[in-house]
Symmetry: C2
Subunit: 342 residues, 2 copies
DNA sequence: AAACAAACCGAAAAGGCTTTCTGAAAGCTA
DNA sequence: TAGCTTTCAGAAAGCCTTTTCGGTTTGTTT
C-alpha cells in the first residue's frame, strides 16, 4: 500500500467537511454546534453526529482571528528552575486551565533581551494578556505602559506603580512567624537570615522585629544576615550559641538555613523543640518533612499568588483596571520544630 | 479629551495599515516584509519603515491559518510540582524557544480525564505536536495512535512501543554509580533505595548489581527497598550498621535517602567519605550542596532529555518517524561525599 | 383560500495574511 | 519604431469560522 498519507497525517476535519456530511451549509453547521437557536432539533442532531464521526474540533485560530480574542495568555518567567516560579505558574495554570484559556510558557532565563524577544513573539500570537513571574520579591523593570494587552506581575512586582503586581506579604510573614514563637512562650528569640541584598530577607526581618517590639521584646542579638544556605545556618548557629547560650527560639530566613541551624543545635546538645524552637520560611516540603523534627515554616501561599494574578489578568482583559502592589497573606505551617515551653 | 480608547487599548496594526501608510497594496507589503524578490529595493524600504512606525507584528493566527502550521507545540505534564517535570520542561522550552516555536503548557495534575481534556483543547488550537512529560519512569498509557500530530514522551515512556519515548537510562545510572565507588577502591558496598513500586528504583538497583557482578563482587547485603525519604535513609542505615559494621560505601536510591544516611553515619562516628563513601541519585542541588560534605550524585541529565524530546518532535513534525524507547546516558557528579580509600 | 407570522436554512462577508496569477511599465534588441 | 523580455505592483483566491441578513418553507389565522 503505497499510501501517501498515513492515518496520523490526515488533515483535521473542517466545518465544511462536517456540513457536507450532514447535508447542510457551513453556516447551519456552525449554528448547530454552537447552540444557536435557529436550527431544527433534528438538523442539529445530524450535524452533531457528523461532527462526532469526523472527530471535528473547531479551529481556534480561525475563531480567534474572527473574535479578536484568542483565549491565550503568555506566562513569562525569569527562571523556571527557581523555587518560586513553579507554584505561581501552577496556580495560574490552574485558574486558567479550568476555562477556555491556554497558557504560553516562556522562560527568559533572567535575560532582558530574551524577555523582550518573548514579549514580541507573544504579541505576534495575539495573546490576550501577560503574567510576568519573577524569581525574587525585589521590584523588576516594568515591561512598559505601551503594551496592547494587560500585564500582571507576580511575586516580583513591577517598579512602575501604574502596573498591577501580586506579591506575598513578606513583612506580615515575618510578623506571623514571631507571633507563633511568642505564642509558644518563647522570649529569647534569635534571627538568622539570608542575603541582605534580597528584599525578602529585609522585609521578613522587619516584620519579625516589629512583632517583637509590639510584645515589648527585642531579639537576643542583631539579626544575622548571610546567605540562603544550610552552611550559613550552621556557621551562624555556632556563633549564636557561643554568645547567647540562653536562646530559646531561632527564626530562620528560609528552610535551608533552618536545616543548618537544627543540625548544629542538635550537635551542641540542644533539644528541638523543647530547648529551642526553630522555624523557617518557604515551606519547601523536601526540607521541612525530612528534618528531625519536621520543620515549622511560613508558607508563602504562592499558588494563591498565581491564582490571584490569573484572576486579576482576567478582569483586566475584561476591562477592569487595577494598579499598585497587592500583598497576599502568608500562613504558618506548624510542625514538630516548634512547641510551647513546658 | 474624551477619547474612547486609551493608548493600551488600540488595536495592533495590520498589514493593510502598513500597506496604506507605505502607499502600496497588501500583497506588496507582504512580499516586502517577507523578503520575496518581487519588490524594488526602494519600495521595500518604504514598507519596512511603515511597519516600523506602526510597530507592526504579523498576526500569527492568520499566518498559521493559511500555512496549516502554527508553530506551536503542547507540553503536557502530569505534575508540575514534581521534581522531574521541570528540568525536562526547561530543556524543551530551551530547544523550542530558540526558534519560532511557542509552547503551550498544560498540567494534567495526574488526572487522565483532565489530560484528555487538555489534548482536545490543544488539538483545537492546532498545535504542530505534543510532548508528554511524566513524573516517574514507569510506562504510562499512550495517548493513542490516531492523533493528527506527532507525540513524543519524555521521562515516562509510553506503553505503546510504536510511540517514541525519551528517558534517562536508569540501569546505566546504577552502573556508573557503582563504577565510581569501585574506582574509589570501595568493595563493601551497601544499597539503600526507595519504593520498589518505582521502576526507577528497580532499574538503578539492577544496574548497580550488574556492575558489582562484573567486578566479581556482591553487595554487603540485599538491597534495602523502602521509601524515597530521609527518614527511611536514617532508619535503614541504623539497621545496616548493626549488621555490617565494615561497610565502606552506601549507594542511595536518591539524594534524600543519602541525606538521611549521612546524618546517621555521622552520628555513629563514621567519617564521610574517609570511612564510608555515600552517593545519591537525581543531583538535586538543594540537597547535594547543603550536606556535610557535599553529596556526590548521579545527574539524570533531564534537561538533555527535554531537549532531545523537543528535537525528536521537530523531526517528527518534519516527517521523520522514530519509535521505541531511547535511553539517554546519565553522569556522576563528584562532590565531597565520595573519595578514594587512603 | 389568502394572508401573515414563525421557524429554519444558506449565501456572503469579515478577520489578517500569503501566494499565484495577471497586468503594466520599463528596458532591451533588431 | 515594432516587438521582445524583465521587473515590479496589484487583484483575487484561499485558509476556517462566525454572524448577519435575506430567502424559503411550514404552520396559523381569518
Amino acid at each position: 500500500m503505497a499510501q501517501a498519507t498515513g492515518p496520523s497525517r490526515s488533515q483535521p476535519a473542517t466545518l465544511s467537511d462536517v456540513a457536507r456530511l450532514a447535508g447542510v451549509s457551513v453556516a447551519t453547521a456552525s449554528k448547530a454546534l454552537n447552540g444557536r437557536s435557529q436550527v431544527r432539533a433534528e438538523t442539529r442532531q445530524r450535524v452533531v453526529d457528523a461532527a462526532e464521526r469526523l472527530s471535528f474540533r473547531p479551529n481556534q485560530l480561525a475563531r480567534g482571528l474572527l473574535a479578536g480574542r484568542t483565549g491565550t495568555v503568555g506566562l513569562l518567567t525569569s527562571d523556571l528552575e527557581g523555587r518560586f516560579s513553579i507554584p505561581i505558574l501552577m496556580g495560574a495554570e490552574d485558574a486558567f486551565g479550568a476555562g477556555e484559556v491556554a497558557v504560553f510558557l516562556c522562560d527568559a532565563r533572567g535575560d532582558a533581551i530574551r524577555e523582550q524577544h518573548h514579549v514580541r513573539a507573544l504579541l505576534g500570537r495575539r495573546v490576550d494578556g501577560l503574567i510576568v513571574v519573577g524569581s525574587r520579591t525585589d521590584p523588576r523593570p516594568s515591561l512598559g505602559r505601551e503594551l496592547p494587552v494587560p500585564v500582571v506581575y507576580a511575586y516580583a512586582p513591577s517598579d512602575d506603580p501604574e502596573d498591577l503586581s501580586i506579591v506575598p506579604d513578606s513583612v506580615d510573614a515575618g510578623r506571623i512567624a514571631v507571633t507563633h514563637l511568642l505564642a509558644c512562650g518563647r522570649t529569647r528569640i534569635a534571627h538568622i537570615t539570608g542575603d541582605p541584598g534580597y528584599l525578602a530577607a529585609r522585609e521578613r526581618s522587619e516584620g519579625a522585629l516589629a512583632a517583637l517590639a509590639d510584645a515589648g521584646l527585642t531579639p537576643v542579638e542583631e539579626p544575622r544576615f548571610g546567605a540562603w544556605s544550610e552552611g550559613w545556618g550552621r556557621a551562624a548557629t555556632a556563633l549564636l550559641l557561643d554568645r547567647h547560650a540562653d536562646v530559646d527560639a531561632v527564626l530562620c530566613g528560609n528552610d535551608q538555613i533552618a536545616r543548618g541551624v537544627m543540625d548544629v543545635l542538635r550537635e551542641r546538645g540542644r533539644r528541638v523543640p523543647e530547648d529551642v524552637s526553630v522555624m523557617g520560611f518557604d515551606d519547601w516540603n523536601v526540607l521541612t518533612s525530612g528534618s528531625r523534627p519536621p520543620l515549622t515554616s511560613v508558607d508563602l501561599n504562592l499558588e494563591q499568588v498565581g491564582r490571584a494574578a490569573a484572576h486579576a489578568l482576567f478582569s483586566a482583559i475584561g476591562g477592569g483596571r487595577r494598579s499598585g502592589i497587592e500583598a497576599l497573606p502568608c500562613r504558618v505551617v506548624i510542625r514538630g520544630s516548634t512547641a510551647p515551653l513546658s
